[in-house]
Symmetry: C2
């Protein structure tokens, strides 16, 4: 079994935006699907973890795209494990078209939790550290380092959203990529005719639950750079995630 897994997807017409390119949300979900396929094929995916009451939890995700797949195009999402430590594993992604042209990359950090106690577990305890055999340290991933999303207290409440059935994944949590979609919806469709989301960095802080109402706080941190904090509405106000978006014309 290769260390890099490669999964074919297609930019289906009804998964494309008003510019005829794949929605970032669909690409993000394809990355999560590729991660899941890669892990299951190597027997450390959710299918195996369920048998020992463990689960992967996405902690950070960054995607940087030079170009997005166009309508009808077939493309591959490649995924591999860059490194694994006691509590975190670094997983990379590469998006390439059928001619081998690289469209962009992704980086992610995953933790493992015990599904009963919800506490983090030592990844290297799984099958006596078998995870380490999948490490691929020198595979190039030229995208910049994952950046810490720094926000001031100046961020303004710009939207409040009711989540619903379609936001909730198989684990009963708000789907990680739905947060990106909700945040992208803060900009009008017309914005996306002239601007492209080049990079997004997301830090997942706490799990969103079904029926959560979300509050989105935004601040502009550069000419084409914005940060958004997503909190659970109500008295508790827990921060669920924070993301930085960089657009280009």
């Amino acid at each position: 079994m290769e260390k890099i897994g490669r999964y074919e997807f297609r930019a289906n017409p009804f998964h494309c935006d008003c510019t005829g390119h794949l929605f970032m949300g669909h690409l993000g979900n394809h990355m999560l699907n590729a991660a899941d396929f890669h892990a299951n094929d190597r027997d450390f995916g959710i299918k195996y973890l369920q048998t020992i009451n463990k689960a992967w939890v996405l902690s950070r995700l960054a995607i940087e795209m030079e170009e997005m797949p166009q309508i009808y195009e077939r493309f591959y999402v490649e995924s591999w494990i860059e490194s694994s430590m006691k509590f975190f594993t670094n997983r990379c992604f590469r998006v390439v078209n059928t001619d081998g042209k690289v469209y962009g990359h992704g980086k992610s950090i995953w933790a493992m939790i015990d599904t009963e106690t919800r506490q983090p577990c030592n990844l290297l305890d799984i099958k006596d550290g078998e995870l380490l055999q999948w490490e691929l340290k020198d595979e190039p991933n030229p995208m910049g380092k994952m950046t810490r999303v720094m926000m001031s207290h100046e961020a303004e409440l710009v939207k409040s959203i009711e989540t619903g059935y379609n936001d909730v994944d198989i684990n009963g949590h708000i789907n990680s990529v739905k947060f990106i979609e909700h945040v992208m919806d803060l900009w009008e469709t017309d914005w996306y005719c002239e601007h492209r989301l080049k990079r997004v960095d997301v830090a997942y802080v706490a799990e969103g639950h079904k029926s959560d109402r979300l509050e989105l706080y935004r601040e502009q941190t550069g000419e084409m750079e914005f940060c958004v904090r997503v909190c659970r509405a109500g008295a508790d106000g827990t921060e669920l995630c924070r993301m930085k978006l960089v657009f280009e014309n």
Copy 2:
């Protein structure tokens, strides 16, 4: 070229709901994708139509499922043209798994418009009626007839929704299936742990546009049957679509 087109899809884990089955929204989009692939492969799809300033417009869609594809499952959406008349064509769908087991069916009615005048055109004018050669009148589609969605004026305003970038398709209109997703979100996630959407019938009345705010009016029309009217908010209040949903335990 066969009259029936067959397209493979997969119930990717991040396209599955809290019960581990494919979201109806994803299935609906796969049907629209299958329709598009089938039409393009036979040279009456949007690729050809764009060259003569015409476009397909979905007028009615009904989906009836005995079962939904499960997480990780590969399945096929088959599609064919049942009949074509001057202003409408009837297109069918069948969802089967890799063992040939039939999970459910779909029916749809499509019109063709001139993209400049937005007026309906005669489908049989296209390439001297070539569309008729694809008719397949006796292919079985055991689902019940498409039903007219009848609503009284008793329906209650239950939700108002801001649409955004992710709702808008490549034509600049609200994606037909997004209406189904928004309506399904009227029920809590918990409802779907105990109930399954067995059948949905949608009548598309007018196109939704980017930035439309939607108002959803619902009434219960049977023990497990509900109708929902979706209107554009504001002074105009145009009805955009109407749908009937039948659940089962």
